[in-house]
Amino acid sequence: MTWILANLPLLSSRLLEHLGLALPAIVLSVVLALPLGWIAHRYRVSRWVLVTLTGLLYAIPSLPLFVLLPALLGTGIRDASNAIVALTLYGLALMVRSVADALDAVPPLVTDAAKAQGYGPLALVLKVQLPLAVPALTAGARVVAVSTISLVTVSGVLGLPSLGLLFVDGFQRGITEEIVAGLVLTVALALVLDALLALLGRAMTPWNRADPTTRRRAAHTPRTAAAPRAGEAR
């Protein structure tokens, strides 16, 4: 405890650095997954290709990817951009499928009715399909957020500053409190972000709160299926 109290400024700067890597990756993977997921939803062939290929990204062990990317991108191994790209790829692996599934789940009757009222193709996607997919999209984004927060720690092995660096440093110098602090903060951060996204999803879907049956359905959207184990390195 004394170590933690004495190192509060260090902990808070590690926490911010952690967020600095995780947040851009989470936002990027969600934003990039939207068009990719839409293409996967729209065309049957591309669905197979996109979902399989992006899904395979998740199979690449993270440490080698962190090491390999600089060679491909020309970035330094300790550049934040290097880590952000790697994390975004993992995020995409989860999110593209989520987006495609979320769009698939929009009732065809509603889409058909909207089309018959005179929605153009773009308005149909932006104003009807995406809003209705929000509950399932939120579920996907929550998995991505939690997964990314835990994956960031791996970059600590490379010496990139984040909460992960606390484990590495703690191990090397034998400071148990530092390891525990890093672990607890990582889990806490994941939980907080998960809760915030859940709240955001709720705020964006006032019509679901109005109807108890759809609320239950939204809560059932699969988010445990691909949930990563916290702190696990691939």
Binding site: L109, D112, K115, A116, G118, L132, T205, W207, A210, T213
Partner: protein
């Protein structure tokens, strides 16, 4: 006027939905396409607003081939009401009704004004405007569907089994109100149903369709009941099993009309009857009875 010029529709898998249809639908009247499920009636309806493009032939709207019109613009100019309302679940009632005026780039205030007007027109409490569709009853949802279709003041209204999913009492109520509304608005309504009673209640003209949307008979409700073209139409009307056979007997206040089970339905032309029933119900009852005048004596099946 809507004109089908030898229209047909085959799907890529070889299914024939519509064989060869050649018919005209008059403006300002309610035309009911009636047929069993799979008769291609919905396909025919959806060709008018280009939700389906025909494989052969062409559909003309006021003399213009719809194939030459932009489908999105065309759909914004035609009201469409569907079964199960087809409301957008994430939009409030008012937002749903405003949809088409807003898509047509009308100013927000004007769209809101129109939406409120339509809510009143279809008998919806203004307080429901802020609700979501899932918070409404089936009947209310269908009213919103009708209000939405009317909001941009289209000349043509397409209705695809709009009252199919509500209970019979509410359905009768909605039908009566549609008749009342049409008496004010004189839209060109094309109404699809598989329910002959609904067709008789609503249609100025009824088009009975067989498989592949082949026209079995076109006529007014009275014409159909009085002179069904063939056994198919007779069966569809329920004339064969005596469903529409009515009997008259002299009562104190006039002639009492009963159905085939002897259940009294009402009094024929009672002079002091309050005029609450609109032209629809009253006139049709008489025409049905008239058509079956010969059956009055004989017992029903």
């Amino acid at each position: 006027m809507i004109r089908f010029h030898h229209v047909g529709k085959d799907y890529p898998d070889g299914t024939r939905a519509v064989g060869d249809v050649d018919l005209t639908i008059d403006s300002g009247r309610c035309t009911v396409l009636v047929g069993s499920s799979g008769s291609g009636k919905t396909t025919l309806l959806r060709m008018i607003n280009r939700m389906v493009d025909p494989s052969r032939g062409r559909v003309e709207l006021d003399g213009e081939d719809v194939a030459g019109l932009d489908p999105v613009q065309l759909r914004r100019s035609i009201g469409y009401v569907m079964q199960g309302s087809g409301l957008l679940p994430h939009r409030t009632v008012l937002q749903n009704i405003e949809t088409v005026p807003l898509l047509r780039k009308e100013p927000r205030a004007e769209a809101r004004r129109r939406a409120q007007l339509q809510m009143e027109r279809v008998g919806l409490d203004p307080a429901l405007g802020q609700r979501y569709p899932s918070q409404l009853s089936g009947g209310q949802q269908q009213r919103v569907g009708v209000a939405r279709a009317l909001a941009a003041e289209p000349d043509v209204l397409l209705m695809d089994e709009p009252f199919g999913a509500v209970d019979p009492l509410v359905r009768a109520e909605l039908q009566a109100e549609l008749v009342k509304l049409q008496a004010q608005l004189h839209k060109t309504i094309v109404f699809v149903t598989h329910d002959m009673d609904e067709a008789l209640a609503l249609g100025d003209t009824i088009i009975v369709l067989r498989e592949h949307a082949e026209v079995a008979q076109i006529g007014t409700p009275a014409e159909l009941v009085a002179a069904p073209a063939d056994d198919f139409v007779r069966r569809f009307l329920g004339l064969q099993d005596g469903r529409r056979v009515l009997r008259g007997s002299q009562g104190e206040s006039g002639q009492v009309v009963s159905d085939r089970f002897g259940r009294p339905l009402g009094v024929l032309g009672a002079p002091d009857a309050p005029d609450t029933l609109d032209a629809d119900a009253g006139a049709q009852d008489v025409s049905v009875t008239g058509a079956d005048a010969g059956a009055e004596e004989g017992p029903a099946a």
